[in-house]
Symmetry: C2
Subunit: 340 residues, 2 copies
DNA sequence: TATTAGCAGACGATATCATTGAGTGCTAAA
DNA sequence: TTTAGCACTCAATGATATCGTCTGCTAATA
């Protein structure tokens, strides 16, 4: 695209992102002091519409960007706008306090949501990439024990056992030994299924096998699905596009479902745009998604996501998100929260 | 109150709960086939308004119940309406699957929210009632360990340690020994503060004391505040009272704050009404709250709450809530999820 | 040829007004 | 004490006119 038409296009998107109102030629000319008459702008708008970058809400309305328009904008016209306020707030919350990673991520989501008035969410490392390393049993007293599962990436999960006399500590001990020898290096995803296969072995060796089997199965299922997750959605109520209750309801119900977030996190959309720092922007069903990945520990990675109407300040959002993920990596990067 | 006027009052509340529209004398007469003329009903309505049980939205509108009206209704006119659909759904989800308590509570909240279209939430046992029993350290490999905290009520919390060479496993071991001997029987609430007091002892005995101190402090703070919590709020979007975005925003923002839920759970409102089964109904700021407590383990207790507009089907809600808490108690009652 | 001025027409948004209907309160009769 | 009847209130609805913003087109201009 030629110089002027791009200039006009960018102005339209910027203006619409700010005001949420269809942009007209005259307003644009005045507000952005463009050195072209409104008629010229109108001509170019018509062209942009023909090319599919702009849309009209009705015949005599101003223009709004189409999804294709947003894509072009994000791919070619994005500018980093890092917000001093955000960086201050974040560094203050994350570096000054003794948060563990999970809390830090939650705080980050909350801050991001507050500063953008969009929905934010976080996804932990995908369990399908992790393998079981040990199962260790840790007796507490005669009636209870804690079982700790550790993956090769250092991720841990715990399960509390409490039992009456029928199950002896010995049984649990024997059970974990069997599981350890048979399930080491199993993908976390496949644990429940593999456990089914060794059920007969348990039956032969362990006294209260059905009870223990069932308890371990429950723990494994949870472990496999525990794609640590957090979402903060109420701030999208500030977006004018969701003053329509029906539309709001639709989105809210989606965002209330953890599976939707998992999908958003995993699906690498074919139409997605990648920034130089590896963030990803995509558009589905009148909703825009920006995600950024962070790596902590050896192979552990997670994602931060921002979700909202396509009319969002992409430059600012991407800058924020990348700042947050970089900050989290720098704090929790090598060996966890304990060495700074 | 005399017979007829109560009958009329109950009909008005029932009708309003169902329709969310101000109730007029004529409609009432027809719909509930009351053997009184509309004029009689009108007279009684006027009386009920004078007594403060009813309100008008404008001079010539029908009547709606006031907060005082709801209180009277709940205290004197409540009928148990247990829903077959709910009981089926719940027993199916809770008894057939191998959920741990936390997941069971989340599922229950989700189901309740879905069936009532109100906001639901859960609060775990208040940490102020629990004392630290042991701290046990559990080495995983040369570079990491899991630390388990156990309270007298059997509640456990874990903290992952990962460290580079500077901290030795030995140091952590020594540290936990000191903490164990000094902090046993401390209220969980007071752990962070007590830890400060024994800081000098750590300084004298442990090599990398500041780092370990900071890690344990973080863990203790989290433990003290970890009043295990869950909320499912998006269903209130179905309530006509929240088709006003401003009102919705206000409520949503409240319900998005974990502290608000904690307050709702702890504050035993002076105006609250208690049912025979120990549930509690209260009204604050144009919002109604129904809570029910369940006990599992020895002293561990938690609360389920339903929050929404005062216009809710109290009979049904109370019945549901009490069914759920009873079910949870029966399944997780004595010794945890493993013996059924 | 590219740009601009000017004008007619489209259309959402807003204000005004009359109408409708569900509801009340009051009075007088049963 | 209850009821029938009537006058009055007021939100909701729909029709109508007006306004302002915006487009698209045409003709003039650089």
């Amino acid at each position: 695209m030629k110089g002027r038409i791009v200039e006009i296009f960018k102005a339209i998107v910027d203006e619409f992102i700010q005001t949420a109102e269809p942009v007209g030629s005259k307003t644009l000319m005045n507000k952005y002091s463009l050195p072209y008459s409104s008629a010229t702008i109108r001509n170019d708008m018509q062209l942009l519409e023909e090319m599919g970058y702009l849309e009209k809400t009705h015949t005599s309305s101003g223009r709004i960007p189409s999804t294709k328009g947003y894509q072009y904008y994000c791919e070619n016209l994005l500018e980093d706008k890092l917000d001093k306020q955000l960086t201050n707030m974040l560094t203050a919350t994350l570096t000054n306090s003794r948060l563990d990673l999970e809390d830090a991520i939650q705080q980050s989501c909350d801050i991001l949501a507050q500063m953008t008035n969009l929905a934010t969410g976080a996804l932990g490392p995908d369990s399908s990439s992790q393998r079981l390393e040990h199962i260790k049993l840790f007796p507490i007293d005669e009636k209870s024990a804690v079982c700790v599962f550790i993956t090769n990436t250092g991720h841990t999960e715990t399960k509390n056992f409490r039992f009456e006399e029928e199950v002896s500590l010995n049984d649990i001990q024997k059970c974990t030994e069997i599981l350890n020898s048979r399930l080491k290096n199993t993908l976390v995803d496949e644990l429940p299924q593999k456990l089914q296969l060794i059920k007969p072995i348990l039956e032969n060796n362990v006294y209260r096998h059905e009870m223990l089997f069932s308890a371990f199965l429950g723990a494994f299922i949870k472990f496999a699905n525990d794609n640590f997750y957090y979402a903060k959605t109420s701030n999208i109520l500030y977006q004018p596009e969701y003053s329509d209750i029906e539309r709001l309801k639709q989105l809210m119900e989606m965002l209330d479902d953890t599976n939707v977030w998992r999908q958003l996190g995993n699906n690498s959309n074919q139409l997605a745009i990648k920034t130089s720092s590896g963030s990803e922007l995509s558009w589905v069903n009148d909703v825009a998604i920006v995600k950024s990945t962070f790596r902590v520990g050896e192979a552990e990675e997670g994602q931060l996501m921002v979700v909202g109407p396509p009319r969002m300040d992409y430059g600012r959002i991407v800058a924020m998100l990348e700042y947050v993920t970089a900050l989290i990596e720098s704090i929790y990067g090598k060996g966890g929260p304990n060495e700074r």
